[in-house]
């Protein structure tokens, strides 16, 4: 289990205990956190689970694999700290992770 904090664009803070093995995207979808659409269901094919990872965490989490950066080209307002939350797998190491959800997904 890891505590993941999701902050929506209107500054609502959702602290969720997410099981290890689920993705940060699934943690949001299963807990009805608004702003993460995940249209393709985690296939890294749609860029609608885009999040901004807070700076102190960005370098600690596993790096992007092939294809994620390509999909981020299509995301809504991508930034340096953009990630697709379907590619972030929850583990004890991610306990305390904070992500910001963009204004829109598309």
């Amino acid at each position: 289990m890891a505590k993941i904090t999701y902050i929506t664009s209107d500054a609502q803070v959702h602290e969720i205990e997410v099981q290890n093995g689920l993705t940060v995207m699934e943690g949001a979808v299963q807990n009805d956190i608004p702003g993460i659409d995940a249209d393709c269901g985690g296939g890294m094919a749609c860029a609608t689970c885009h999040v901004y990872v807070q700076d102190d965490w960005f370098n600690k989490i596993p790096e992007k694999e092939d294809g994620e950066e390509d999909m981020l080209d299509m995301a809504f307002e991508p930034k340096k700290n953009s990630r697709l939350s379907c590619q972030l797998i929850v583990s004890d190491e991610l306990d305390g992770l904070v992500v910001n959800i963009p204004k829109k997904q598309a």
Binding site: D39, C40, A47, D73, M74, A106
Partner: protein, 338 residues
Amino acid sequence: MNKTDALIIGAGPTGLFTAHQLNLIGLSCEVVDNLDKVGGQCIELYPDKPIYDIPAVPECTGEELTKNLINQLKPFDIKFHLGERVEEVKKDDINWIVKTNNGKIFSTPNVIIAGGVGSFEPRKFPVKECEKFENKSIFYSVKDKKIFEGKTVAIFGGGDSALDWAVELSKKSKVNLIHRRDEFRGAQATVSTMHTLVKEGKINLFTKYQMTSVKGNGQLESIDIKNDDDETKNIKADYALGFFGLIMQLGPIANWGLNLDKKTIEVDTEKFETNQKGIYAVGDICTYPGKLKLILSGFHEGALAARACFKLARPNEKYRFEFTTTSTSLLKRLGKKE
């Protein structure tokens, strides 16, 4: 007015196999899809990505799966209406009247929504003011390249569409290509051509830049772009083109009086019928307890929805379950028996 036993909305794998099942049991059907080609997400999102969980098919790509499904439909005469979006579904006395954006009208007792996550629409610029210029000086596809001749065009994006148009339009226009990072995901050959044109001064390249605002009075005049270090540049632009791929939108489906759960349609698991009699939802777009968004689930759902259609399309006949291995009537429909 097109009359058919069932109208399928969506030509992805689930829609295609549902068409097979309908024809197999002797019902006619027509298929409408917003994309200009058959295959749905398989073709649009992952044509080259291998799929490993289709029963009895150890490995195949989205494109191969689509080809095989089309092959499986060969014995049947099915009308496809591609590049058309269903706008309206309304009931007359008996049938559903379905209208598309191009004005085609269908009358049918059965509508099967196999729409994936909705219809594919181009992703737009995040800058809100772009709406004012859309289809006048801001576009998400090129219909007539002549309008750009002698003009200054800003092209945004890093994939094949952005690169292809940057290369093509650089022949007769002043092209500024803007992309959010140094790497381009388009074909390597086109990336090289683009870089050569940049060296020759035929394309101005701005990487690590994104649009922050647009300026103009009726007609676009210039665009502000900002880089990762917050430096802003103002570039002249008569036109802007954005190529950020496609996004799926539920679109008009939301207005048809169906019970929705987020972006999915609630159905029963006997007929895959919605809260409206004669309207079914199958594949990724439907939801029920235990729903799995797998292609194989879509096939199962389509097979059952097709049987449910029989009752409304042939109210005076009784549906009889048969196997393709043994049934003479099924084999006749498949063209395997005279």
